[in-house]
Amino acid sequence: MSELDFLFAFAAVLIAGVMCCGRDGRAGWAAMAVYGAMLVAVMAAAGKVAGGSIPSALGFSVLGHKIGWRMDGLGWFFSMLTAGAAFFASWYAAGEWGRAQPGMKTQHLLLALNVAAMLLLVNAGDLLSLFIGWELVSWAAFAMMAQKGGPAQPAAMRYMIYALAGAMAVLAGIMIVHAVTGSFAYKDFAAAFGAMSSGMKWLLAGLFAAGFGVKMALMPFHLWQAAAYSETPGASSAFLNAVSARMGLFALILVLVKVMGLSALAGLHVPLIGLSAKGLLMWIAAFTMVIPTFIALMQTDARMLLTWHGIGQGGYMLLGVLVGTGLGTAGGLLHVFNYATYQMALFLAVTAVIHRTGTSDLDRLGGLITRMPWTYVTLLMGIIGLAGLPPMNGFVSKWMIYRSLLDSGSAFLLIFAFVGTLGTILSVYKLIHNIFLGRLRPQHEGVREAPWSMVAPMLALGGIGFVTGWFPGLALNLTDIAQAAMGAPELPHGLGGVATARGSLNMIWVVSILLVAIGFGAIVFYFLGNRRYEVNQLNNYAGGHFLSPQVPYQFSHEFYPGLARVIGPWYRGSIVRAEQGIGTLLDVSGDLWRGIYHLAWTPLYLLAATVIALGWAIMGGM
């Protein structure tokens, strides 16, 4: 019974446990304990998995193909992420938020199913078990998205169609590999990939990239993610946001980087323009970074804004991994870890706001800082991480990605990355301003801070983000294991950060100096001036006008009018129209075929067939 079997056993026990007695209050805490145990088990397995891989007893052979599961470094990293995200999601759901939810048992059950499916996916031993895990993850996520009913169902439906199309592409890819190499093992595929014809290479790379790209919401397939993830109930959507989309990245890394190898991808050249397959994928990642971020800028719902950012951040991770150098891959993987922490903190904070005020519409919130300070602190830590500013961990991974892009000399990609970051800063400020800053609306007067059972996990996540931001070495040790398993070059790093010849980063010094400077600023501020007097928010300059609570005095609707006038016309939603086009094509052809069955008398074809056949017969001479 290796650690991996313990993990699978934990997952199975959890599903059974929630299934039988998910109703009573303590189920939430029990689930949290089990996820915690899983996290500890995964961490304990770090030593064994660093070198080789942990075999698992789970495995069977069908139609002559052996299907098995084992955990290697990459699988270990993503299992750790899944267990951690599930731990925090269940901790959040175990508290008062859970008690306030209608169908909490189903949510616990679906979370357990999702975790089990993800463990099966990330520890897949060969292509077939990878596909089995992939399908289970897709369907578990579908169930989780559709559970709330109402608007969630069309969103989940749209996800399911995308996911299934992606899965079919992956299945076709796997079967082609089987036809060429005769087996589903990774090493056979890797060995045979070099010798394939470039057409076949393009086909396989295209199928796998498209199939896995759907789950990661890469550019052309990104329309489903925002609505689907926002409609899921709070804690589960935080889990989905933090980890579920990264399963696509795991599979992409596994197949495109580890098995096919970036050098092989770089070798494939698009006939006309001088771009290689790797370059094309990097440009897709670049567009995925920028365009969803600027769509997020225009959103008016907090959850939609965050999910659109989730898509954008996915572009960073893929870009980092695709650069291929030790620094780039470490940056990409670290960004996966960082993203999971701050995105989950953000989503839990927004859920706390929804829990208290009942709405997440940015045009109907404001001034909550005085009522929900700790939620504000979490959201602040989250947006600093999401925007990638120094004290938090988001900055470290973005710096590493930029540094690797600079080393590999791809300047224009770096410009895209930089513009993406700027867009993020603008939209996250809009998020925190419209919810917490500005004028407190009369109806939110009685709002109280979220209960401690919700605030604790949020602050813990924010804390993790800060600590790994201050000492990135802690997180880099985790990514080293994944990097080694991926075959990417090793990255020498200290506790503070990375020291390369062409520019180094030591976060210990950066954050310490920042704190010292802030301390110095506090001294200047608190001791040099007179004691400050806090005033009522109605005591505000309004051009001499007397402010009263009934007078709405808040600027939050359409927060960047100047920018909107410039980039407004660019939002033509061409991809949305393309998607609708496919929908109507399907309906029209459906009606056409169905119409055939409604013709009064259809065997006209028979007549034609017979005439032809008889003619042949006679011509052939009886």
Binding site: D591, A600, W601, P603, L606, L607, T610, I618, M622
Partner: protein, 123 residues
């Protein structure tokens, strides 16, 4: 020459029968067409066994009078005629039922009523 005449006639019958089924809307005409078509097919089947100048394949006193006609298609035709007859009987029974049910034998109207009853929403 006779071969092409025979086959041409049989295939002509089949085509006439098919035309009646396809082009006419009245169910009875369709069934007549069916019968014509089956007779055409049977004729074709029988004419396959034709040998110019052949005699009936009966061995009189143990010796064959001359070139014999191929007996097997004739056996097949026998069965085919019986089957055709059976199917025709069932068809006529069903036509009587349809006439009672829908009061009309126009194929298109019957098809429309049938779909309406099946609850196929015409989306």
């Amino acid at each position: 020459m006779t071969g092409t005449l025979l086959y041409g006639g049989a295939i002509g019958l089949v085509i006439i029968g098919l035309y009646a089924i396809v082009a006419r809307r009245h169910l009875m005409r369709n069934i007549f067409g069916l019968a014509v078509m089956e007779s055409g097919v049977n004729l074709l089947l029988a004419s396959v066994g034709y040998r110019p100048g052949g005699h009936a394949p009966i061995l009189v006193a143990g010796a064959a009078p001359g070139p014999l006609v191929d007996p097997i298609p004739q056996a097949l035709v026998l069965t085919a005629i019986v089957i055709g007859f059976g199917v025709l009987a069932l068809a006529l029974a069903l036509v009587v039922r349809v006439r009672q049910a829908y009061g009309t034998l126009d194929n298109r109207a019957v098809a429309r009523r049938l779909r309406a009853e099946n609850g196929e929403a015409r989306s």
